[in-house]
């Protein structure tokens, strides 16, 4: 590991704590910002993601982190202060899921990918769509580089440097990153897509999306 990441995670739910555990296992410094509705987040983290630290505030967390991850339910996406993300690498791990969250008319009208829609909240954020297409239990199956059956994680974004950082970090925590293109191409990672919810190797993943691996 050439660089030890500091990551900031919005959400102390299933996905947020699963990513916190992976970060801790990889030697990252892990900050977590829980829901404003909840208390005792540090107690929760001490048990389910020991080593992760509740951030004093979202602002402190964003400033301290190399990258932040939004891992709250899509229905709670309005609770995030997007103004904090100017110049920050932000991984959107949410899924718009009408069967669970209900229909959001703005999204249906906009005909955008979920992450394109979210990125409009702060166009000066360095947005990367990733980590949305596997469940939290599958995410727990991260494995060291070169391990047989290591899982692929797709990423999409318009900022090449941001994607490079996220790729290095994904590799760090135990996944094979696969770049699927621009943020708009991230629609291919969404629910109903060919790879959604499937535990795939890098090769299987690329094949399923018709990508040519370099």
């Amino acid at each position: 590991m050439s660089h030890s990441f500091t990551i900031g995670i919005f959400g102390a739910g299933k996905v947020g704590t699963a990513l916190a555990r992976l970060g801790i296992a990889a030697g990252n410094s892990v900050l977590v910002s829980g829901s404003p509705r909840h208390t005792h987040t540090q107690m929760l983290l001490d048990v389910v993601a020991p080593g992760a630290v509740e951030a004093g505030s979202a602002e402190v967390m964003v400033r301290a982190s190399d990258l932040v991850i939004i891992a709250v339910p899509f229905a709670k996406s309005d609770e995030i202060d997007y103004g904090l993300f100017t110049g920050t690498i932000v991984v959107d791990a949410m899924n718009y899921w009408p069967a669970v969250d209900g229909v959001v008319a703005d999204i249906e009208r906009a005909e955008l990918g979920n992450s394109e829609f979210i990125a409009m909240r702060n166009p000066r954020g360095r947005w990367v769509k990733s980590l949305n297409h596997l469940g939290y239990q599958e995410l727990a199956e991260a494995a060291a580089e070169g391990t047989r059956g290591r899982l692929a994680i797709g990423l999409a974004g318009d900022d090449g440097d941001a994607k490079a950082v996220v790729s290095a970090w994904l590799d760090d925590i135990g996944f094979d990153p696969v770049d699927v293109g621009a943020l708009a191409d991230g629609r291919r990672l969404e629910t109903g897509g060919a790879i959604f919810g499937r535990s795939l190797s890098r090769g299987e993943f690329a094949l399923s999306l018709g990508l040519v691996e370099s």
């Binding site: 005792h40 107690m43 209900g102 239990q137 629910t191 959604f196």
Partner: protein, 350 residues
């Protein structure tokens, strides 16, 4: 270890290839609960779903039907989708089931994983958190006794209200149902409520930190020991032979999960994933009595749960196969678990 069954109702396949009516599905459930009682199972839960393949929408009514034809089995909801219910009505219904069953009713309050009940009962999904938190608070307030005084935002205040009938024991046990969000385990512990985990995928032993969090939060809030209990519901099915049970159940599971996947945008399960999930360590407790008892004992070493209950009637599984699985759970699995773990003492809530 208590053993049990839960169901959302199902349209059983008939011999002629068709499926039973949703009305017959309700009668099938009462028949299943009656058998579960006869073979010594300790719990039967009815979920709350509002779909054609899973038509058990009114759990308390089914349980009332079962209450007068059973003797020992505890009758619960799994779960009551509290956000779209009236807690006063829920309490009245389950207190009535408790009366008719001589103190065997339980409520498991939860969020449920589907949203059909929101438009059906005229609620706004965006109020989800507020509805759930306030209604849980109201339900617990009602259980503390008459007169009921409560203030909130999701309904008019209750001032010296009378909610009857009252359970003879003073309380209807109220559990918190959760699918594994850490916040729910924390909340259940803080409220001093028993917790019920619904685990339908992945590796159930990985719920151990959640059960630990629950127990720590309960200890921190000085919850009485009798209230600190963990139960686990998983999909499962018992057959005489493990292989044939897994083959029989695969079609039902595949059918249900493919339908759900179509609605929610994930791929149907593969036989490979099914074989992994039905092997030791997985979340699908499908197999022979020896296999299922070994797997429950193994999970118990991680979670320390006091009750394990199985959802058996996926897809259009014929009623005969459903009943046979219930029978084997009572006559074959239960004695093995009692030999290994002892008999779970009856808990009297205070």
């Amino acid at each position: 270890m208590q053993l049990g069954v839960y169901s959302f109702g199902s349209l059983a396949r008939r011999a002629d290839g068709g499926v039973v009516s949703s009305a017959q599905a309700m009668r099938n459930l009462v028949e299943a609960i009656r058998l579960a009682d006869e073979v010594g199972l300790e719990y039967f839960g009815i979920g709350e779903h509002h779909t054609e393949p899973m038509p058990a929408s009114a759990a308390a009514v089914v349980l009332a039907g079962a209450a007068t034809v059973t003797k020992r089995i505890r009758l619960g909801s799994s779960v009551t989708v509290l956000s779209t219910e009236d807690p006063v009505r829920v309490y009245q219904q389950f207190a009535t089931v408790d009366a008719l069953s001589n103190g065997r009713a339980e409520i498991t309050a939860g969020r449920g994983s589907s949203i059909e009940s929101f438009p059906l009962f005229g609620f706004d999904l965006h109020d989800y958190d507020r509805l759930y938190a306030e209604k849980l608070d109201l339900l617990l307030t009602i259980d503390r006794g008459n007169p009921v005084n409560w203030k909130g935002t999701v309904r008019t205040d209750l001032v010296d209200a009378v909610v009857v009938p009252r359970p003879d024991s003073g309380h209807v046990p109220i559990w918190l149902g959760t699918g594994g969000n850490p916040q729910s385990s924390l909340r259940a512990g803080q409220l001093g409520l028993p917790i019920s985990y619904g685990i339908i995928g992945g590796v159930p032993a990985k719920f151990a930190p959640l059960a630990d969090l629950y127990r720590r939060a309960a200890a921190a809030s000085e919850a009485p020991a009798t209230q600190v209990r963990v139960s686990v519901g998983t999909p499962g099915f018992v057959g005489e032979q493990g292989e044939s049970a897994r083959d029989l159940w695969w079609n039902e599971w595949h059918h249900t999960m493919s339908e759900l996947g179509r609605l929610r945008g994930f791929a149907p399960p593969s036989r490979t994933s099914y074989d992994r999930d039905t092997a030791p360590g997985g979340a699908l407790f499908v197999g022979s009595p020896d296999e299922i008892s070994d797997r429950i004992i193994e999970l118990h070493s991680h979670l320390g749960h006091m009750r394990h209950f199985l959802q058996m009637d996926f897809g259009t599984i014929p009623q005969r196969d459903f009943l046979r699985s219930i029978e084997l759970l009572g006559t074959e699995v239960k004695p093995r678990l009692e030999a290994a773990l002892g008999v779970e003492p009856e808990v009297v809530t205070s």
